[in-house]
Amino acid sequence: MNLLEPVGIPDAQTVMAWRRDFPILRESVHGQPLVYLDNAATTQKPASVIAAEQAYYEHDNANVHRGVHLLSQRATDAYEGARARIARFIHAAGEQEIVYTRGTTEAINLVAQSFARPRLQPGDEVLITAMEHHSNIVPWQLVCAQTGAVLKVVPIDDDGALDVDAYERMLGASTRIVALAHASNALGTVNPVARLIELAHARGVPVLIDGAQAIAHLPVDVSTLDCDFYAFSGHKVYGPTGIGALYAKAALLEAMPPWQGGGDMIRAVTFEKTEYNVIPWRFEAGTPNIAGAIGLAAALDYVSAIGLEVAQRHEADLLAYADDALRAHPHVRMIGTAKEKLGIVSFVMDNAHAHDIGTILDQCGVAVRTGHHCAMPVMARYGVPATVRASFALYNTRADVDALLDGLARVQEMFPL
């Protein structure tokens, strides 16, 4: 971004043009135009991503790293080109630092099993936070059960911000790895990851960042952050499901054993001895999601052309607009009010249970997430069984927020206090 050039909130026409890039936004549900506010669960896909997958299957489909034939070469070039695109998007030093995975969850499991497990001894500590998604809790519980290590959880305050002082205190001589969300899916909180990484590194502790929520909404520069691992999913950044990536520093990947065996991750196999492939392919056993990787690269091209900073300003405007309206609502209680937030509003309402609200909003055409958001410890922290969560993407507008508010008025009508 050119810092001399001020980047304002994009105008309505620009946003309408973005909206036209997403064919699904022309759908109606229950006879109402679709208002899609479940972007933290998954984002919709622009036509360019859908076209990239289709073009691959129509023109280039073949297995990668295998054949001498032309299609195999084209497929391999597109697949490896996509890896390079991902590396550029997050500012990795090189494409060998990008391991394809099915998504964030698989990436975290890979690090837990291949990096952490051989290093963990009984009594060692894995440090996570109280705002993590289940996918950044359970892989660590598994590895702790396997090794005798102990899971430690840094608390959050009532607003949903991380207690950084507690984090600093809990980073101890026994801490072997820190794993934390760049941004919380249930609360929207954005963590001060640069500082948290610095604090961990000062004690020689490597850090994994769960970037599932952040990747579509915040510029990510792994080189500047100096994180050791960064995990994200393609489908949260306007790309396909079933594809994601693990960024890992090359030196760490080099020292990690394979975690799944099979084709493509080997150099030479005999029944006596197998020689493994070099990084990153050592971690990619089996025929990969080639079309997914190509679709993901197309998605990154798409958001790069718009500019994440531009989208970020637009989403911040939506957040402020929704936040003001919901806070002014006498029967709404916001869950997650940290200063630094993504475009996520999570709330409960006196009138009705989150699930009933979700059904009524759905009838109004408004798609939100209701439930525990795969973050049951967060729900327990606030003493609620479930919340309603509206989460914004670049194609949302203030009219979408108005539709949400109209839906809540309908909830009040149906469930008067």
Binding site: H353, A354, H355, Q363
Partner: protein, 150 residues
């Protein structure tokens, strides 16, 4: 929008706002916990069965309108029934709640429970309506642990 009124009938609101038998049962000899992980509905069901007949039944828990009303209506329907009648009622209720929305369904023998037939139009909510009933099954079989709708 009229579909919403089909789902949220007055009887359902009534039982959501003033759930009947919403308490533990002293001397209960069957008990089970039910949990719907999709929406966080949780109930604990208490049954006192003597000589094969439901003498008393109650529930505790937190849930959405459908789950709460369903549990409340169920407890009303169970009192005084034999275990065989309870089982038959379970089958009838389950058949009504899970039948395809485009096919007519029999409300025979369901009494007030028929107000929950509207959930058929809302596939995501069927489990809210059946949670109490699955928990009932577990309580009768004395299954340990929490029954999940998943």
């Amino acid at each position: 929008m009229s579909d919403l009124r089909e789902l949220y009938q007055e009887t359902i609101f009534d039982h959501y706002r003033r759930p009947r038998n919403c308490h533990a049962v002293p001397g209960a000899n069957h008990c089970a916990e039910g949990y719907n992980p999709l929406c966080g509905d949780r109930i604990t069901l208490y049954l006192c069965i003597e000589d094969g007949v439901v003498k008393d039944v109650g529930f505790e828990g937190a849930g959405c309108a459908i789950a709460t009303a369903s549990a409340s209506l169920m407890t009303e329907a169970l009192k005084g029934r034999t275990e065989a009648e309870v089982e038959a009622l379970f089958e009838r209720f389950h058949a009504m709640a899970t039948a395809p929305a485009d096919r007519p369904v029999s409300n025979e023998g369901l009494g007030k429970l028929a107000v929950l037939a509207g959930v058929r139009e809302f596939p995501a909510r069927i489990k809210c309506a059946t949670l109490a009933w699955h928990t009932l099954h577990a309580a009768l079989r004395d299954e340990r642990g929490t029954v999940s709708t998943e």
